[in-house]
Symmetry: C2
Subunit: 256 residues, 2 copies
């Protein structure tokens, strides 16, 4: 049995890479719905519909028992629906990230950075408060981070200044833990931690490794790695150079 | 008779503002299809369909004889279809911008900057070559410019560095004229011209003023100004502060 990962686009490849590195023999099939990215501005109904189609593509084409939803919006809306329709294990990014952040914080004060859509949805705020209602959460939307990653500017002065622009104020609120609430952001983790060495940074994909371990699935397979995209993606062309492994992609056609 | 302007989002407000400033008594109704932005990644058929709906909303609700398509993608695909369906004057951004650039260049070497979708579509290259086949065109996609404008960072060091990042190479190719091929970019015009004082910068909205003048329509009306959006837009909330006039928006519901 293999793992299927899907995202609205290519940001979820950071999750793919973390899982691929950690389980070198696990068969992994990734689907990026690049034809319909971003999901953040779609209605809940549409996000559920798209998510079921993505999960369906992976489950119908490969021998999959676990779906990782590497997309914040889809993780907020569609986890239960995928479980119910396909009867597989489903792991999102929001809940594991929130849990790990609560375990990490010492002063119960957590920062969340993400896209405008993720911040507006308050999905991390809800998940954190569901675990511990007394937690303090501060959010900041960082719309420049995704293009900085996709333009391969992560190690530049531009990136350093943009990080400072967004996180100075957030850091000043007294948070001790910062959730990277967008799957692109782990590529900026080093830049952020260099500027804010006292912040504990939570990357949901680390929490996902823990979730996979707990499932006790057989991870000793053939190390098959496949990337499917629903449309050509210039962002993939740049990200595949940032991420290790010399990835190539195939065209996916989803059934509606 | 009034003018209707539409764009896939809020970038077209730079065109709106230029027209509003130039014709203070003209009645202007703007529609931003913020629920379905961006158009650049949609199929040609979908862009035509959406554009006809946008034009239809303006024409059916207001006494409009001229539609300005303040969106590069819609300008490339849907001008003829709007003319044919509604029998109104239709002015796009691509052709007037290309014409003005050809009039402006002294060395027949023109640069175009735009979103990834605009650059990939080659709409400006085609329009320029249609006017003068011997023209040399160099293109660069600048994915960071839109978020920089929408985050109100136009006058910062970040903006200066990002401008340098994208335009140094383009400038070095020997172009003497630069087309701002995205309706957000006029807000970066000053930052660009400060760094590249020898570049002649072409803003399509200036060419559009010329097109409106040529139509000989009655511009002496009541100066009605209305902004409609198909969905709430955080980008509008920031842009309305950058653009003069204390704009407010109303909700538009399009008929499909």
């Amino acid at each position: 049995m293999a793992i299927g990962i899907f995202d609205s686009g290519v940001g979820g490849l950071t999750v793919y890479q973390k899982i691929a590195d950690h389980f070198p023999n696990l068969d992994i099939h990734y689907l990026g719905d690049t034809a319909r990215v971003p999901y953040g501005s779609r209605s809940k109904e549409t996000v559920i519909n798209y998510s079921l189609q993505c999960a369906g593509f992976l489950i119908e084409n490969f021998d999959i028992d676990t779906i990782v939803v590497a997309c914040n919006t889809a993780s907020s809306y569609a986890i239960d629906q995928i479980k119910e329709k396909y009867g597989v294990n489903v792991i999102g990014v929001v809940e594991p990230g929130a849990k790990l952040a609560i375990q990490t914080t010492s002063n119960n004060s957590i920062g969340v950075i993400g896209t405008r859509a993720t911040v507006r949805s308050e999905s991390y705020v809800t998940a954190l408060k569901n675990i511990y209602n007394e937690i303090t959460v501060e959010q900041v939307a960082c719309p420049l981070f995704v293009p900085i990653v996709e333009e391969m500017l992560v190690d530049t002065d531009i990136a350093k200044q943009v990080v400072k622009h967004y996180i100075d104020g957030l850091s000043a609120t007294g948070i001790d833990t910062l959730i990277l609430g967008c799957t692109h952001y782990p590529l900026l983790k080093e830049t952020i931690s260099k500027s804010y060495p006292n912040l504990k940074i939570v990357d949901s994909s680390e929490a996902i490794i823990e979730c996979i371990n707990k499932l006790n699935i057989d991870t000793n397979q053939n190390g098959v790695r496949e990337i499917y995209l629903t449309d050509e993606s210039p962002a993939f062309e740049t990200l595949k150079n940032v991420l290790a492994g010399g990835l190539t992609s195939k065209k996916a056609i989803l059934s509606c």
